[in-house]
């Protein structure tokens, strides 16, 4: 048998166990993904991905490197168009939509490799996130009509409020590129919140942070969920963070879901242990 050939992984029956927290169970899930898949040429990066996320849930997406986690995010935000499957956002099918339309419908994201507008100020970064919240047109901007001043004033106040979540309002006029690494990651979250999302996707928010910063981040993620009442889905390798704040966790390996459930279920799941640590020799 070729050493590259993998044994078929036993799939946990999906979509059960349902990982939607009880308080959200009688509402339509914010996100329902069924049989999502994408092929790059002959390579199947993600296959038969199913997931539902509740209105105010914090969900985790974990898996070894190259499992297809970021690809799932890129599929949800339509950076890639899926080959198979459907993505229902708030009960509406997103087929054929692009990144911008999906964002307007309520998905905001951060990036694994930080993508800030580095040469602009922190405040401008957040104001760009608030772009679609302002509704004046170009002529009123050029003529500096009252509608311009009003929208800009409200947006600026709102931006400073959002920055204050992370106590960053003092840095408002610093260049985004000059911020320390952790602050840049936080700014990305603030910018994403500016677009008024219903579902926030965080791609490795704790990458490069020290343990105390991570602990603070965990608090802040919960706080964001509580204050904004939105769903958050995060990719993370830091198991303390994932097990600490996620209510439902989905484990990917080789593009397939191998386990789903509460943090306790996941920690006990033999498939997950196998994916992360490998099998015992005598099992082969």
């Amino acid at each position: 048998m070729s050493k590259y050939k993998k044994e078929p992984v036993k799939l946990v029956p999906v979509p059960s166990p349902n990982i939607i927290p009880e308080r959200d169970i009688d509402k339509t899930p914010i996100l329902e993904v069924s049989h999502l898949g994408i092929d790059f040429g002959g390579l199947t990066a993600v296959d038969d991905f199913n997931m539902a996320i509740g209105r105010t849930e914090i969900a985790g997406l974990i898996g070894p490197n190259g499992a297809g986690k970021t690809t799932v995010f890129n599929l949800l935000t339509k950076v890639y168009q899926p080959t198979r499957g459907t993505i229902m956002l708030d009960g509406r099918d997103t087929a054929g939509m692009n990144t911008i339309q999906v964002n307007k419908m309520g998905i905001a994201r951060t990036f694994q490799n930080i993508r800030l507008f580095k040469d602009l100020t922190v405040l401008d970064n957040v104001l760009i996130g608030l772009h679609n919240e302002m509704d004046y047109h170009l002529p009123s901007a050029v003529l500096r009509l009252p509608s311009y001043w009003r929208a800009e004033r409200i947006a600026k106040e709102r931006a400073l409020e959002l920055l204050s979540i992370f106590d960053m309002q003092d840095m408002a006029y610093a260049k985004a590129g000059s911020l320390p690494y952790g602050a840049q990651r936080r700014l990305e979250i603030v910018r994403a919140l500016g677009t008024n999302p219903a579902l926030l996707l965080l791609d490795e928010p704790a990458a490069g942070m020290n343990p105390s910063e991570t602990a603070e981040l965990m608090e802040n993620i919960s706080k964001i969920r509580d204050t904004f009442q939105i769903a958050i889905m995060l990719i993370e390798h830091d198991m303390n963070l994932v097990m600490g704040i996620c209510e439902g966790i989905c484990v990917l390996n080789y593009g397939k879901v191998i386990a789903k459930g509460s943090p306790e279920d996941i920690q006990a799941s033999p498939q997950v242990i196998e994916a992360y640590l490998g099998k015992k020799k005598e099992d082969n």
Partner: protein
């Protein structure tokens, strides 16, 4: 926190700038009309004005949008020929001239739209080559249109002659003022920020819900519009148009002004357009060496300040005044008073609905 407090209130800030600009216009105009500044130099000053508009408009596409179009002279040519033909038809009536200018700008903007939509799907060098091709196509069409369609509009290589010289210092620099004002206000709005965000990171920009295709095209069209205006002013200044004036080298000349001034700095564009237009004239005495000096200036600036004279810094008179007032008062303690609201209030505000 960096000092960003605005001490001078908003309407006053605009008023100061407008008053100073009007004073500048009147003083210069008086000097020119009374003959204190010789006619030759007055002509050079008008060309500085035209070049400022060209550089500032190209700066939208290169500095703010982060693209590299090489066909700016093409848009200028369209504007120049359009307004020149209208002015000839109107036999030099001064009241028609503003409309001729705007018509030139609009036709150039239309071409900007036609070129921009396909071109902006490309990036970097590919876009450069495409726009370069566009500029050359315009020039060649202007050169040959008589023979092709039986028109006698552009007179081919001989060029348009006896265009009414309706422009003067005042009109040119009023247009410079309007151009700078419009571009400044556009860039300091949500539309301008959207354009900047495309330069910084297009993927992040899309994920913020910004329609990048729309804003790229918008930047390109506005850039073309003002190039068309500059073309119209050029035609009115020089009185004779030939296609060879709008060749590839003209596009490069404008690009050099933008790069030398600092991409993304309007003040830089204005400064370097002034310097690079005046320099060859100032060096006319050293006829043999002037292009050597011109090139040397470029080389030296690029070696010692690769980001251009001004980088992305933009001069603000009021900002300077603010700083002076602060220094004069000597109290730095008062600044940095931020609205310290409780964190939960952001969410409360959000519940109240979208921003109006």
């Amino acid at each position: 926190m960096k000092n960003n407090e605005k001490i001078i209130p908003m309407p006053l800030r605009y008023l100061i700038n407008i008053v100073l600009f009007v004073v500048f216009l009147l003083v210069m105009n008086n000097l020119i009309v009374s003959g204190t500044i010789p006619k030759y130099y007055a002509g050079v000053i008008s060309f500085i004005g035209v070049n400022i508009i060209l550089a500032v408009s190209l700066n939208i596409a290169t500095g703010y949008l982060g693209q590299l179009p090489l066909g700016h002279a093409g848009f200028m040519a369209i504007g120049a020929y359009t307004s020149a033909l209208i002015m000839k038809a109107a036999s030099g009536s001064a009241t028609i001239f503003p409309f001729a200018l705007i018509a030139g700008g609009l036709i150039a903007a239309l071409f900007g739209l036609i070129i921009g939509i396909p071109a902006l799907r490309l990036k970097g060098d590919y876009l450069a080559i495409l726009t370069l091709g566009f500029g050359e196509i315009i020039r060649v069409i202007l050169l040959n249109i008589d023979n092709v369609l039986g028109f006698t509009l552009t007179n081919g290589a001989a060029g348009l002659q006896k265009i009414p010289k309706t422009t003067n210092f005042l009109i040119t620099f009023i247009m410079v003022g309007i151009t700078c004002y419009v571009i400044h206000t556009m860039m300091k709005s949500r539309h301008g920020r959207a354009i900047l965000s495309i330069r910084e990171n297009e993927i992040a920009s899309e994920s913020c819900g910004i329609n990048t295709t729309y804003y790229k095209t918008l930047g390109f069209v506005v850039s073309a519009f003002f190039a068309g205006i500059a073309g119209g002013l050029y035609a009115g200044n020089i009185g004779i148009l030939s296609p060879s004036a709008f060749n590839f080298m003209k596009s490069i000349e404008i690009l050099v002004m933008v790069v030398l001034g600092g991409m993304g700095s309007m003040f830089g564009s204005v400064l370097s357009a002034t310097v690079l237009t005046a320099l060859p004239e100032a060096l006319r005495r050293f006829e043999d060496y002037r292009m050597v000096v011109y090139s040397l200036v470029l080389v030296i600036v690029m070696i010692f300040k690769p980001s251009g004279l001004m980088g992305t810094y933009d001069f603000s008179l009021n900002g300077l005044l603010d700083k002076l007032i602060l220094k004069f008062r000597g109290n730095h303690t008062e600044k940095g008073a931020m609205p310290q609201e409780k964190k939960g209030e952001a969410a409360v505000r959000k519940k109240e609905g979208k921003l109006k």
